[in-house]
Structures are given as structure tokens and as C-alpha cells.
Amino acid sequence: MSLIHASAPPGWAVALAALALWTNTLIIAAEALIRRRWIGTHRWAPRWDGQFGGEAVVAGIVREGAPLARHTVEQRGRLRARKTEIAWHDRSHRSEIAGGIVDTRFGPVRVPPGPGEAWPSSTAQHRVAEHVEPVPAGGRDPADRARRAKGILRQVDVRWVPGDSVYLMGRLQALDDGSWTLAPLSSGPMVLSSEDPAAWARRCRRELVAFATAVVGACALLTAGVAWPPAFGLRSSLFGALGLAFFLLIQPAGVWMRARTIEPAYRNLGGTTRVASRQDPDGDAVTPGSSLH
């Protein structure tokens, strides 16, 4: 590895480097496992006891509600340098449960207005973002406005309206007229979701345990590579360099994993909107079509 001079470092220094690598790896793995446990023991996989009155996830179709619920991402868009696109940055995520009735296989369930979380599907957000206009609409050309430090604002609104399928998660309580009503969970607010929250929880838990296992396994492999004789030789140095790269990369990997398993109500939307180039005869008007990342 070394071109001119290779020194064997003192043992204490190598031990410190190994300690830093392992401490970081274990703490990032631990964070993933703690999150896995939290998702498992928290509210997203309620065990329904087979009778209404318990906490459950129930699928249904919205019958009444205009809309039943709404999820809004407010975004600020600014023009990217040397690119003909506006980059969108999430400013806030809001859920609003307006209330309505959902038909389920057990009968109608009344959803009262109140606090709760609305979990939109990524596909639905993408579809809405394709066509959403900056606010206020009209006025100066959006690309010009997006060039300024203040940028432009838009709201990506996903609504649950009659005919939409929805998963309800909460405490189901019987009413006198034979219907049911949804109440908040004992451990948090009610959730209205486009996708099965229990399936989401299963996926997150699976991925978090795989992530924790992979990072600890990779760290062990790198350590074994460094320790493999001859100590501090070419192979050992190569593994040392890989260890440093691993130390630096595992940090964004941990943050990425955290973002990947965040509740859909708070998931980052981001995205870009293409604008016509300056040379374009149409000027720099915003063209329809967004891509989300």
C-alpha cells in the first residue's frame, strides 16, 4: 500500500482506531434495533382480539367524507443551478382527519373528525405532485420566481374521498345503531392509511434487523481482514482503507435507514419539476411533469 515508507503503528493507536470503528458500528446497529423494537411494540401492529372493541387494523372503502382525510406536504421550490429544474424541499407534513363513514366487511365504521395521522401512498403523492401548481398560482413565471432566495411554494395534497380504499387503525367501539366508531389507539392517535400499516411495520422491522446484521457483519469482516497476517502488510492496509471508508459511509447509511422506516405521514417527498431551457422558444415556463426522489 505504501509507496515509500511503511511504519507499523503502535498497538495502542491501532486499538483506538478499532475502538472508534466498533463503537460507531454498534451504536448505529443498536439504533436500528431499538427502532425495530419500537415499531414492533408500539401501535402499528395492534393485535385484534377478534371482537370489536379492541384495537385493530380494518380495510374498507370510503362511503362518506368530503374528504374523509387529507395529508398535505408544503414544499418550497428553488431553481437548480445549471439545470432546467426546480428542486422541491419539504417544509412541513400535516394530517387532517375530517371524518366520514367507511364500509368494512364488518359493517360501516364512523370516523370522527379529530387528531390523527393520514398515511398516503408514495404513488398517490407522486401522482398529485405531477399536476400541482405553485401557490399563489399565476402571476410571474414560476421559474423566475424559483430563482429568488424565497423560491416558490406548493402544497401536495392527498385526499381520501368516497370510493377510495383505506385502512383504519384505532380502537373500534360499538354504537347503539349497530354501526361502529373509530377512536384513538391507547398508545397514540388513529391512523388512516392507503396501505396496510401492519405490512408497513413488518417491512420496516425486517429491513432494520437486516441492516443491523449487515453492518456488524461487515465490520467483523473488515476487522478480520486487517488482523490477517502479515500485520500492516498490503492486504491489511487495504482492509484498513476499506475500514475507514466504512466508518465514513455507515453514518449516512444509518440516517438513510432511519428515513426509510419513518412513518409515511412524515416521509420526505422532495422532487423536481422540469422547466423549459432559456433557449427554448417557449421561454422558461414550467412544463408539466415532476419526478420524485
Binding site: 505504501s2 509507496l3 515509500i4 515508507h5 511503511a6 503503528p9 439504533e31 443551478a81 412541513s92 453514518q251
Partner: protein
Amino acid sequence: MQSTRSWVRHPAEWRQIGIIAIYMGVLGSMYFVPACRNPVFFVAACFFSFLNAIVIHNHLHQGIFQDRRWNDRFKLVLSFGNLYPASANTPSHNLVHHHFEDDGRPDWASPDHVHFGWHLLNLIHFPNVAGPNTFAGVKRWAALFGRDAFRRQYTKETAFAFGLTGLLALFDFWTTLCFIVLPQLWGARGILRINLLQHDGCDTSSEWNHSRNFVGRAFNWILCNNGYHTIHHNRAGLHWSALPRAHQKEVVPRIDPSLDEPSMVWYLLKTFVFRFSRPPVRDVAAAEKQAAPAELAPRADRLAEAEAAAST
């Protein structure tokens, strides 16, 4: 030829230049002289690496030199000292951290990003979250229209810091890893951890109780007054040498006394070693409601001012 007096903007800046000269000297000694690869030099390098990060902070608020080219060159040296581009501080610290939010989203280095029950783990883990948040945010900010000068300087600093470190590693990998990279990263991660020390348990929505100060005199002499954090947030344009007096005059009457810590070492011990859980949050902002109001521009105005300064 310029006179010495006019080369730096303020006589106090020689302290910062001296810190960096000593740090580079310690790193060079360990790299080139095998006898210096001992725990004493190593600990000194880690300590001065942290001071290097402090100098980055001060230099990115107010350039040390009169000449902008010298300021840019000095940023290259500072970037090598902590193995990250010093200019990253402009968006991450001056524009986001000083206002405790990123356009509606949390500060990239907000204490709320870590949640371990055992608070010591939060201190250890904090850079693992704040670091990636910061670099993702800087990348996003740099990609926007009108940041050409920033991007050029940022690229130069990245190339210099990683290029020089890589070159040293090519010649002597293990010495570079143990005696250059470890101190570099210690300082870089240490300055991120400071965010947790300075803001955890504070009320970032208040004007005078958003930060914890470490007010020991010797400590602040060595750290170029970086212990006075409240006044630094509120009067970001004030030179670091003027902070103690401004702290006494403006902050002391309005701050909860518990946020003026006499010693950082004692604070670290009592918060992270002698107790297990995170200290409970108190209404520290109550203190400023009883004091006379101070003339302070709204945060939005201060942000606009900082953005304007960043784009020049």
C-alpha cells in the same frame, strides 16, 4: 508589501493563527518523526483538531485576513485540519443552525435527532446523525441557483483536504490513519457534539434561553470565546473577542442561571457520566420574560441578513 497590522482584521486573530500553526506542527511531527507517535502528541493533536474546528467556525463568520484570497487559502488548511470542507459551515451553521430550523424543518444538528435512553450514547452517536444531515443539506443548498463561488471554493477545499490526506496515506497508510485521520475526525465530530451540549434542554424558540454557555475564563481564552453561545447566536456579526462583555451586558440579565455553566468538563461529567438518563426539560425561557426587553431584530430579518452575507 502589506504591513502586519493590516494583514489580519483584528489583532486577536493571531491567537487563531497560532492555534492552527501548533496543530499543523503536531500533526507534522507525528507523521515525520516516529518518536512523536506517542499518547501525549496524539491527545494534543485531538485537542488542537477540536480548536481547528472552532477556528473554522470563527473564520466562516468573519474572515481572519483582510484579503479575501488569503481567507480562501486559509480555508484549505482548515479543511485539511478536520477532513471536511470548511465552507460547509456557511449553510449548515450560519444559515440553518443560527436560526434553529431549515425552512420549517429541524436544524440539521438539532439535539432532537438522537433518542437513546442512556444519554451518554446520545453524545457518542450525535455526529453520526448530524454529520450526514449536514452534508446532505449543504449539497442541496449548493445545488441551487447563484452559488457558483461557493461551489468552486467547496470543491477546492474538498480536493485539498482529501487529496493531501490521501497523499499522506499513500506514503504511509497506518501512520496517516492513526496520527492524522483520527485527530482530524475527532475534531470534526467534536464540533458537531458541541451542538448537543449547547442546546439540549434549552428552549430554541426563545430569544435569550436557546443556548447553554460555558463561561470559564481560561476555557474561553483557549476556545476563542466560543463558550459564549447565546450572544453569538443573537449577535452573529459581533467579533468573537467582544463576546464576554456583550454576554455580561445582554445575556446575563435575561438567561436562566442554569444555562451559564462555569465548566464544560463538570457539565460533561454531571450530564453524561454521573447520570444515566437525559436531563428533564425545564421552562428556562421564563427568565427572559421578567427582564427588560432588548433591541433584537426578528429572526426572519437576521436570517435574511445572513443569507445576503453568504451570497456575497
